[in-house]
Amino acid sequence: MIRPATIVLVAAAAIAVVAPFFLKPFGIYLISMWAVLTVAAIGLNLTIGYAGQVSLAQGAFVGIGAYTVALMTQAGWPYPLAFVAAGALCFAVGWILGYPALRVQHHYLAFVTLAFTSLVFLVLRNEEWLTGGTHGINGIARPVFFGWSTGKPLDFYFFSVGTLTVLSGAMWRMLRSPWGRAFVALRENPVRALSLGVDTRRYTLMAFAIGSSLGGLAGALYAPLVQFIEPGSFALGLSFNLLLMVIVGGSGYFFGPFVGALVAVLLPEWTRIAQGYYLLIYAALVMLMMAVCPSGLLGLAARAAKALARRQLPALRAEGAGR
């Protein structure tokens, strides 16, 4: 019997492939942005949802990745190299940041990562010789792979969704491995994990570093998508936005980031109809969502599915008994 979840998954994948052909350039741009933000949210989900650490640094990592790609491609390096460099650099920075920072309790980590993001913003803005300063970097080219240019909206969309698919596939495998199971153990009960001999610090650090490198890879996609980057795009606002996505989607659920990013990208567009009050409505809706389903939309879906299954159970039993 095919689970309903699989049906939804297949349908969603089909939409993801077919829908862009019916959309105008702006719509395609939006869903490309969704793909890019989902990559960053998946990374943050690993840190928050699986390893249980509150990080407000993901925005900064997206920024570091974006600037790496922008500077490298404008200096003539090939895009794939820059892409890998972005991920590697953010992994390293995440490791270095995490090493001392993860020693402290959760809420303190939030503040350390908050400080980190603000510091990264200051460096990006002030060091004009490196980053172009407050004026940012303009005219970032879209990559070309073996003659296939991603310049057109549709082409870039498939490039970003393709990258998203590959990265989430890798994440899926990782989480199913013994490594991944250790992560989950960390979240449920760090003290017990410790008593079982799991090197919690190592795992948490790895989770944080991998999450950060995913942020960097998202940045590597963001730069050619928007074709312009400036320090202000990667400050606390983005970190908060990504946090929102993970929580609203459902932290700890594999597909949480996908749903969360979709809401974050679409909600402002829907509420834009209210012309000028939309940020107000956006904030109110998020608060309402938190009050109604704090385990996120997927948490709500899981609860609903369970309730449905429970109602079906007596019927199934009766069916079985009747045979």
Binding site: I15, G27, Y29, T134, H135, F228, Q275, L279
Partner: protein, 380 residues
């Protein structure tokens, strides 16, 4: 299957599959503006000036018989978002696009409008905007490469300063202005003895004033936004700075004078667009604006207002709605208030999209901005 179909429908609707159809009896002139975030003040002023002009034009029958239809898109003061919003309006074939005000967003949006061959009338002042060879971008106020030489000349000839200090706000407005200013100072052999950067929204200027006092310059050039200017002036007065304070509209405006509560006395500088200009048309506009929106507009309001009337004049001149011809015609054109009262002051456009207008030297005397001299257009 129903669930996923529903989901698909919802997503499609959200992504704007259903696009609005604009009737042939209207002309679509959308505006991409900073309505929230750091640029909210500039964007909302521009918007209100623009809306007032649109209502006036529509009340008289519109342009060539077609009423103006507009949409307001919020960039949230973020260049990436402004690009996305611009893409959205370009999908709906606008005639001309207005805004944004922030130079960073303008530079990004320009690439798209140039590709789409749609004229864009912007509020940004960064020099780079008109240096990219884009035939579709037009300003509504002086570029920094024109306003800074005027100020530099004033400092050299009027104040006769040999050393100068500069205080600027660290965003692309302030940085661009500071870079141009320093260049002009170097060209005139005036030494910059202090270069003090401040943050947008900064409240405490004690440290900055201490640094300025220590530098002991002949004059201090202040280039930051209105509210910060007011706070700076109060701190400067408190600590007894004696060197003359020179600035632009953001230092001399009536709003700054009010907020500074007496600390703005004796401040002087160059004013490009101001509601305090000794020109009846401008004063009349300022009053109508105040009556309608209940606040005193800044130079961004004038930008938005005149932009709409420029569109009206050029369109009537060419007699049809042709975006490409619009851009070609506006280059090298001079519009006088006699031709079109809505432009308030005579304005000329050059082949880069820069404009040339009269401007003023002002001084704050007895809590009022007094125009001390009228500087003619550079082109005369």
């Amino acid at each position: 299957m129903v669930r996923s179909a529903l989901f698909a429908a919802v997503v499609a609707a959200a992504l704007g599959l259903a696009s609005p159809l604009y009737a042939q009896s209207t002309v679509y002139i959308p505006a991409i503006l900073e309505l929230s975030g750091a640029g909210a003040v500039s964007g909302t002023n521009f918007r209100d000036g623009m809306l007032m002009a649109i209502d006036e034009v529509n009340a008289k029958g519109g342009i060539l018989g077609r009423k103006i239809k507009t949409d307001l898109l919020d960039t949230q003061s973020d260049a990436g978002i402004s690009r996305a919003q611009l893409q959205k309006v370009l999908d709906n074939s606008p005639y001309v696009v207005l805004g944004p005000v922030f130079s960073g967003s303008v530079l990004v949006d320009m690439l798209l409008t140039q590709q789409a061959e749609i004229p864009e009338i912007v509020g940004g002042e960064a020099a780079a905007i008109t240096q990219k060879g884009d035939p579709y971008v037009f300003r509504t106020s002086f570029g920094q490469q024109f306003s800074m030489p005027k100020i530099a000349n004033y400092i050299r000839d009027g104040i006769k300063a040999k050393t100068v200090a500069v205080l600027w706000v660290n965003n692309d407005f302030g940085k661009g202005g500071r870079d141009n200013f320093v260049k002009e100072m170097a060209a005139r052999n005036i030494k910059v003895v202090a270069d003090v950067s401040t943050e947008s929204g900064q409240v405490d200027f004690a440290a900055d004033v201490v640094k300025l006092k220590a530098a002991n310059a002949d004059a201090i050039f202040v280039y930051t936004n209105e509210e910060e200017s007011a706070r700076f002036l109060r701190e400067a007065k408190k600590q007894g700075i004696t060197a003359p304070l020179i600035g632009e509209t953001t230092l001399l405006g009536q709003k700054v004078i009010e907020l500074a509560q007496g600390a703005a006395e004796g401040v002087h500088g160059h004013v490009g667009l101001t509601v305090d200009a000794p020109i009846p048309a401008v004063k009349d506009f300022a009053e109508r604006f105040k009556k309608r929106f209940n606040y005193l507009c800044d130079h961004n309001g004038i930008k938005g207002y005149t932009a709409v009337y420029i569109i009206k004049y050029v369109t009537e001149k060419i007699g049809k709605f042709d975006s490409k011809l619009f851009a070609e015609t506006l280059h090298g054109l001079t519009i006088t208030p006699k031709d079109e009262p809505g432009v308030l002051m005579e304005v000329s456009f050059d082949k880069n999209g820069d404009l040339d207008r009269e401007s003023f030297l002002g001084e704050v005397v007895n809590g009022q901005q007094k125009i001390v001299a009228i500087l003619p257009k550079l082109g005369k």
